[in-house]
C-alpha cells in the first residue's frame, strides 16, 4: 500500500506517522501541504490529512485529492477540510463547553463508548452533503446538536476523525486506523 501523509505544518504529524506504521507496517511518505500542488493523488492507495492550525478555508489544495477517488482519512483539521469540501461549516465550539485541548473525551462511535484525545477549538457545526456522522461527543452541547467527532462519506472512500488517535491520551490508537482502512476496503 502506498500511503501519503499530508502535513499541515502540524506538531503531531510525526506521531501520526508512527501510528500509521504501527497499524499498517508501512512507512508513509510525509509531504508538507505546500508540496501537494505538485503531487498526483493517483500515485497513492490512501491519503491521510494531518491535523493543523487555523480554519479549513486555509487549505484549498486538498480539493483535488478529495475528488480523486483515492481513499482519504482526515484527522482533526483533516476532518474539517473534508466537511468543508462538501459544503459543511466550521465554527467555534460553544464557550460553555470549555477547552478541548489535551483532554480526554468520551465519544459514542457506532454504538460503543470510546475515550479519545481532543485538541480542537472549532467543530463541524453543519455537516456537508453526502456525509454521515458516525461518532459524537457524549458531553451535551447546550447550544445545539452533539459535537461531531467522526464522519464518513456515503458513497466515496472518505472518513474523518475530529479526535486524535495518535495522541498518548487515546487508548488503542491503531484501532482507528484499522477501522478506516476496513471502511476503505484496504484491509480485512
Amino acid at each position: 500500500m502506498r500511503l501519503l501523509l499530508a502535513d499541515n505544518n502540524d506538531s503531531f504529524t510525526r506521531n501520526l506517522e508512527h501510528l500509521l506504521m504501527a497499524a499498517t507496517a508501512i512507512t508513509p511518505q510525509v509531504a508538507p501541504y505546500a508540496a501537494l500542488k505538485d503531487m498526483a493523488p493517483e500515485h497513492y492507495d490512501c491519503i491521510v490529512i494531518s491535523p493543523g492550525p487555523g480554519h479549513p478555508r486555509e487549505y484549498p489544495d486538498y480539493a483535488r485529492f478529495l475528488d480523486s477517488g483515492v481513499p482519504v482519512l482526515g484527522i482533526c483539521m483533516g476532518m474539517q477540510i473534508i466537511n468543508s469540501h462538501f459544503g459543511g461549516t466550521t465554527s467555534r465550539l460553544p464557550a460553555s463547553m470549555g477547552g478541548a485541548h489535551g483532554k480526554q473525551g468520551d465519544i459514542l462511535m457506532e454504538g460503543t463508548v470510546r475515550t479519545v484525545a481532543r485538541y480542537h477549538s472549532l467543530h463541524c457545526d453543519t455537516v456537508g452533503e453526502g456525509l454521515r456522522i458516525t461518532a459524537t461527543l457524549r458531553e451535551q452541547n447546550p447550544d445545539g446538536p452533539p459535537v461531531v467527532m467522526a464522519l464518513q462519506h456515503e458513497s466515496r472512500p472518505l472518513m474523518g476523525y475530529q479526535f486524535h488517535p495518535e495522541s498518548f491520551l487515546t487508548p488503542n490508537g491503531t484501532w482507528y486506523i484499522e477501522h478506516a482502512l476496513r471502511f476503505f476496503r484496504l484491509c480485512q
Binding site: 506538531s11 503531531f12 506521531n15 508512527h18 487555523g54 477547552g99
Partner: protein
C-alpha cells in the same frame, strides 16, 4: 583524553572551588544540584571547561555538518565533550520565521518603545546594542574537570533513568522518598558528602594556557582541587538594590497590563484554532550600574539557594550567561532518549500536604502538560525508531524555586544513522517553551512579545559523542552585560483556553521570583 589527576571534594568546599575556577580561570560551568537524593529530574555530573581551544559560532546559514564535524571529529588539542548553547531566536529560522528584533534591546526595537514602557531615567538608560550573542556557540577545552557523586565515580553525566523511578505507577513512591528529604527539590544537606573530581586534558597541550605554562596550570589546578591550596572563599552575596531602587531600575517588556492584554489576544488565537497552547514571556531588565553587582557571586548564590539540575555559567565577550534551569530538554544515553517536559505550576509560600495532589488533579494544568507531552513525542519521533516512543511517567511532581511543578518522562530509541545532534536540531526549540502547533504558535509569539528571547528558551547542551548528550531548556535564565551593567532575565507561562490572564501574569512573576528576591530581598 588523559585523566591527569583525580581528587575527592566535599560538598562544603565544592562551591568555593567552582567559584574559584570561574573567577580565576574563566571556566564555563555546567552545574548540577546540590540536589537531595530523591530529587527528580536530575543529572549526576557537574562539568567545568577550562581554556577553550576550539569554538564554533552557529549562524542561520551554518550547515549542520559543520556542527557534526566540530563535535564528533576527534581533535588531539581538545578534550572530547562539547559545551554549548542554542539560542531560541536562531530556532525561528528553521520554521521560516524572520525576526528583526535586536537581541539585546529590552524592548526589541532600538527605535520604538512598546506602549506602557516606563520612561528612561538617567540611571536606567541602557544601550541598545545589536546582537552580541550568536545563534549558537559550541566550545571544546584543553582541560575539563568532571565532578560526580563519590558513590558513582564513573557515573554518566546524566541518567536516562534520571529519576527516582521510571514507571508511572511509582508516582507515590517518588513522593514518599522526596518527602523524606523535606519536600524541597534541592539542598543535599549532607555537607560531608564527597564528590570525585577528575581532571582530563587534551592529548596535546599548548605551551601556555590561561596565561601560564600548561604544566604549571595543571599543577595549580591539582593543588587547588586536592585542597593543598584552598580556593578563595565566595564573597557573601549582598543584594545590590533595595526594593524601591529595584522598582526604579527594573523594566519589563510586558508589564502587568501588557501581559494581560497579550494573554487575551492569545486566547482569541486559541479560540480561532491557531494554537492550542502558547508560552508567553516577559523580559526583565535591571540596571545595576554603580551597585557593585558581581554576576558570578550572584550565580553562585542562586546555585546555593535555589538548587536545580541544569545551572550553567557561560561567558561570551562582555556577556555572562546565568542559567538556573530545572528543565531537561533532551538526554541521550547510548542512543536511549529521554525528554522531561515541565508544565503545570503551583506557587507556595510554605509547603503543605496535598498541594501536589491539587496540582495533578487540576484539569487545566494536566492538559497543559499532556499537550506538551504529545508535542515532545512528535518532536523526538522524527529521529526515533518506530514503536520506541513511550510516555513512561506522566504528571510526576517536584518542587523548585518555591513552585510545585509537573513533568513527564518521554522516551525513545535513536534511529540507526541518526546522532544526538540530529535529534537536538530537529526538535529545537523545546516544545514546552513554544506551545503547539509549533510553527504557527512561534509566529504568534514573535508578534506578541516585544522582546527578542535570545538564549532564553533555547538550550544549554553538553555533547559527548553521537550517542550521548544532555541538554536543558534555558528557562529561569538571563545574562549580564558587563559593559552596560544590565542584567536581563525572563519568565513566561503556558497559556491555554481556560487560562486566567491575571493568574498567568502572577505565575510569570513567581517564576522570576528567585531573580527578583536575589536583587532586592
Amino acid at each position: 583524553m588523559p585523566c591527569v589527576f583525580s581528587a575527592s571534594v566535599s560538598s562544603r568546599t565544592l562551591p568555593a572551588l567552582l567559584h574559584h575556577l570561574a573567577r580565576t580561570y574563566h571556566a564555563d560551568l555546567l552545574l548540577c544540584g546540590p540536589l537531595a537524593p530523591a530529587a527528580a529530574p536530575r543529572t549526576e555530573r557537574s562539568i567545568a571547561g577550562i581554556a577553550p581551544v576550539r569554538e564554533l559560532e552557529l549562524h542561520t546559514d551554518t550547515p549542520r555538518e559543520h556542527l557534526h564535524d566540530f563535535c564528533f571529529t576527534p581533535c588531539a588539542t581538545a578534550v572530547s565533550g562539547t559545551i554549548g548553547y542554542l539560542n531560541y531566536t536562531g530556532g525561528l529560522a528553521r520554521y521560516g520565521i524572520r525576526s528583526d528584533k535586536p537581541e539585546n534591546s529590552p524592548n526589541g526595537r532600538a527605535d520604538q518603545k512598546p506602549k506602557n514602557w516606563p520612561e528612561d531615567t538617567p540611571e536606567s538608560k541602557l544601550a541598545d546594542r545589536q546582537k552580541d550573542l550568536p545563534e549558537g556557540l559550541f566550545r571544546q577545552y584543553a582541560i575539563q574537570l568532571i565532578i560526580s557523586p563519590a558513590q558513582e565515580p564513573c557515573s554518566p553525566p546524566h541518567s536516562v533513568d534520571g529519576t527516582a523511578g521510571t514507571d508511572t505507577g511509582n508516582h507515590t513512591a517518588r513522593h514518599d522518598s522526596r518527602h523524606d528529604s523535606g519536600h524541597d527539590y534541592g539542598h543535599d544537606k549532607r555537607h560531608g558528602k564527597e564528590h570525585v573530581l577528575e581532571c582530563h586534558t587534551a592529548e596535546i597541550l599548548p605551551d601556555s594556557l590561561c596565561g601560564k605554562q600548561s604544566a604549571a596550570l595543571i599543577d595549580e589546578l591539582k593543588a587547588l582541587c586536592t585542597g593543598v591550596i584552598p580556593p578563595d572563599p565566595i564573597p557573601a552575596h549582598v543584594a545590590p538594590l533595595s526594593r524601591d531602587a529595584l522598582s526604579r531600575r527594573l523594566r519589563q517588556s510586558l508589564d502587568r497590563k501588557g501581559y494581560v492584554r497579550g494573554v487575551e489576544r492569545v486566547l482569541e488565537h486559541i479560540r480561532d484554532g491557531d494554537t492550542y497552547q502558547l508560552n508567553l514571556s516577559t523580559r526583565f531588565d535591571a540596571d545595576l550600574s554603580g551597585t557593585g553587582f558581581d554576576p558570578l557571586t550572584f550565580f553562585m548564590h542562586m546555585w546555593d539557594q535555589h538548587p536545580a539540575p541544569f545551572y550553567a555559567w557561560l561567558s561570551h565577550g562582555s556577556t555572562r550567561i546565568l542559567s538556573t534551569s530545572p528543565e531537561r530538554f533532551l538526554c541521550v544515553r547510548d542512543g536511549q532518549v529521554l525528554s522531561q517536559p515541565i508544565k503545570g505550576t503551583l506557587e507556595f509560600e510554605s509547603f503543605t500536604e496535598g498541594m501536589e495532589k491539587a496540582l495533578t488533579a487540576s484539569p487545566k494544568e494536566s492538559a497543559e502538560l499532556s499537550m506538551i507531552v504529545d508535542l515532545i513525542r512528535n518532536d523526538i519521533a522524527a529521529c526515533c525508531e518506530y514503536g520506541s516512543v513511550q510516555v513512561s511517567a506522566h504528571k510526576e511532581t517536584f518542587t523548585v524555586d518555591r513552585l510545585i511543578q509537573m513533568y513527564s518522562d518521554v522516551r525513545g530509541t535513536l534511529r540507526s544513522g541518526f546522532t544526538c545532534l540530529d535529534l537536538l536540531l530537529d526538535a529545537f526549540p523545546g516544545g514546552s517553551v513554544t506551545g503547539c502547533p509549533k510553527q504557527r504558535t512561534m509566529r504568534i509569539i514573535e508578534a506578541e512579545e516585544p522582546h527578542s528571547r535570545g538564549l532564553y528558551c533555547g538550550s544549554v547542551v553538553f555533547i559527548e559523542d553521537p550517542q550521548n548528550m544532555d541538554s536543558s531548556i534555558a528557562i529561569r535564565t538571563g545574562w549580564y552585560d558587563s559593559i552596560t551593567k544590565a542584567l536581563c532575565f525572563f519568565s513566561g507561562s503556558g497559556i491555554v483556553l481556560d487560562s486566567n490572564p491575571e493568574s498567568e501574569y502572577r505565575e510569570t512573576l513567581a517564576k522570576a521570583g528567585k531573580f527578583l528576591r536575589a536583587l532586592a530581598p
